[in-house]
Point group: C2
Chain length 394, copies 2
């Protein structure tokens, strides 16, 4: 069945005061109103949740990680079992990444050249070689609605030459991805260029010239100061075509989602809301709360009084506190439901306010009461993570 004709993207409304826009992204597995947050289903499951849970949260689209699914259970296995949608029981839209990001951040001992990237599995150390052509083949076998070109994602660095090399290789790989692509899935390219505006401009211009279905911004939120992130997004978005979806990769905190939407981003994905949920860090209108804190021991009301999530409608903060203290499996699911619902609802509200022409006021009002997680701590945590990542980069 040729479902190519079912891909479509249409901007519905634009904010008069920011670059924010509301659009409809149509895929063979359903329509996705944007701006939208894409939960990460790394290994064929959004951790702790069923597809029914996702539907109840009003999740519209899910991300699958090609790298993880390649290692386990194997792309061929999922292909023989009817593709990723059928395997994981999710009939809505699916976006897969190319595997590149994990190969460059999670895998060990790799060597990269123009041909492709040699890496060792983080699970058993086995050696594998990934090329642009294979990345496309894998994603086509998985049967994703939206697939990503293979990119080289360099770490946050002020080494211009290194970043330029990676960016140029990303461009050559994007061309090869486009050539081997069988045109059924929507193929998105990934803009690289690190923190260098010149490289970002070159990258956006080059990828746009390929006429792809959508454009992602990669290589951000890797430890750089937030002001730089914002400036790079602005520089890049300004050069991307208005009639194609824009996807900011790896961004998912409420404050960052507002910054991205304000700058014209349509799609976001991040493991952050689900990962911090499993650590007991829960979103509220005032910022994150740490459910393990003694403060919640006898709190008879929900985490947030007017939250419409399953967890808040059925359980007290005291119960959740107890589950986390006892490390009960249910804790992780209830916390994940809350954080994901918080972010999904927030995006739906942003969309509504964009359509109503009140987005800027909504953003200002939200950010006024929401205290972002400490910037210093955030940068320190990121730096630590980046360092461990750079160790593997050597």
């Amino acid at each position: 069945m040729d479902t190519e004709g079912k891909h479509h993207f249409e901007v519905e409304e634009s904010c008069p005061r920011t670059w924010a826009r509301a659009a409809m992204l149509t895929t063979p597995h359903g329509a996705v109103p944007t701006p939208v947050f894409i939960p990460v289903g790394t290994q064929g499951t959004v951790k702790s949740l069923t597809p029914d849970d996702l539907r109840s949260l009003e999740v519209k689209i899910v991300l699958g990680n090609t790298y993880h699914l390649y290692l386990r259970p194997g792309i061929d296995v999922i292909g023989r079992l009817g593709g990723l949608h059928r395997f994981m029981g999710w009939q809505g839209p699916v976006l897969t990444d190319s595997g590149g990001y994990q190969v460059f951040s999670l895998a060990h001992m790799r060597r990269v050249n123009d041909e492709g990237v040699l890496f060792r599995s983080h699970i058993d150390g086995s050696e594998h070689f990934l090329t642009p052509e294979l990345a496309i083949e894998f994603q086509e076998t998985l049967g994703a609605d939206i697939i990503m070109a293979l990119d080289e994602c360099p770490p946050y660095s002020d080494d211009f030459d290194m970043v330029r090399q990676a960016t140029e290789r990303t461009h050559r790989w994007a061309e090869r991805c486009q050539k081997s692509w069988r045109q059924k899935r929507a193929l998105y390219g990934i803009v690289q260029g690190g923190v260098f505006k010149e490289l970002r401009r070159e990258s956006a211009t080059f990828l746009t010239s390929l006429g792809l279905a959508g454009y992602a911004i990669g290589g951000l939120s890797l430890g750089e100061p937030k002001d730089i992130t914002k400036a790079i997004i602005e520089e890049t978005v300004a050069l991307l075509p208005k009639d194609r979806p824009r996807y900011l990769m790896g961004v998912g905190s409420p404050e960052d989602l507002f910054e991205g939407v304000s700058r014209g981003i349509d799609l976001f994905d991040s493991a952050l809301p689900t990962r911090i949920a499993r650590n007991g860090s829960l979103f509220t209108q005032k910022g994150r709360c740490i459910i393990r804190n003694a403060h919640f021991r006898e709190k008879d009301s929900p985490i947030e009084e007017d939250c419409d999530c399953y967890t808040c409608r059925n359980f007290s903060a005291a119960y959740l506190h107890h589950l986390f203290k006892c490390e009960e499996l249910l804790a992780y699911r209830l916390a994940t439901l809350h954080n994901l619902r918080f972010v999904i609802r927030l995006m739906a509200e942003m969309r509504k306010h964009i359509i109503d022409g009140t987005f800027a006021a909504f953003r200002d009002s939200f950010l006024e009461s929401y205290e972002p997680s400490n910037e210093e701590m955030r940068v320190a945590q990121r730096k630590k993570w980046i360092e461990s990542r750079n160790m593997r980069w050597q």
Copy 2:
């Protein structure tokens, strides 16, 4: 609100060929058709499941462990939060144990005398003293529908005097429980006596003389050969009043449930179906299957083709195999849903066949195709567990 009048037990049908019976147990939080399996909600949650999950499985009654809830979050905390039903969001019937079993099996460094039992928390080593009066007070504060008298549960042993002492103390404690009991909850006594028929007869006779609401059989499935378990159940049930519920504690494998029902047992509880589920051991009509086995890697059909559980209706065995291989949180929930539904459905089928007069044939047909887990391995595993338990007993 005085809900005492709402407790009721009525035998509806008896099997002509075995001692099996179908009855209706009425509690202030709803009716429980028996025979019934009671899932274990140790710490205020049946591990990995929500109350909605339990309802979807047609679970009718849940067990809470007083020992665990006493240590975390504390009986007083749950009391101030409105009781266990409200705390865990389960509005159906709840049975609590007395805490005795865990004190004698899980806690450390204890000393037992007629006054009560001194134990150390298995979590932080703190010292606590449990008496019959406290056991009742705790369960009344939790607000359970059915509460258990404090018993002394000795390990499986051929030391007649030791078991006799524990049995007699159990009787004195049952009297004290009955005296301190405020008559709102249904109070059950626990028959002890180890593998000694004489002691079991004495225990059943003594407890029956107290005129309690129900009678449990404790101290079995602790490593003794299955033939002895069966003989002791028969010896005990014969002396228990026909018009009161009979509860076999700690039994939950399909084959053992049939043996118990055949001998006139109405209620069963066990962590086995949920615990082995989390280890990837799943019930089928042919016996347990190990979902991690390579055999399931590409099995496109469910664990059991005609199983009506959520897991089997939505996912392939291959997907479950993958989740277990990746140690994904969803694995534990999907496996738990399957095993619990298997046991709950089995009990409902037994009940239907008792009412239809076809129970014996149904049992024979099930046991003919169901291969129980290896008896030798079972006894060895039990022995190992018992030895570690006896170490603590010293």
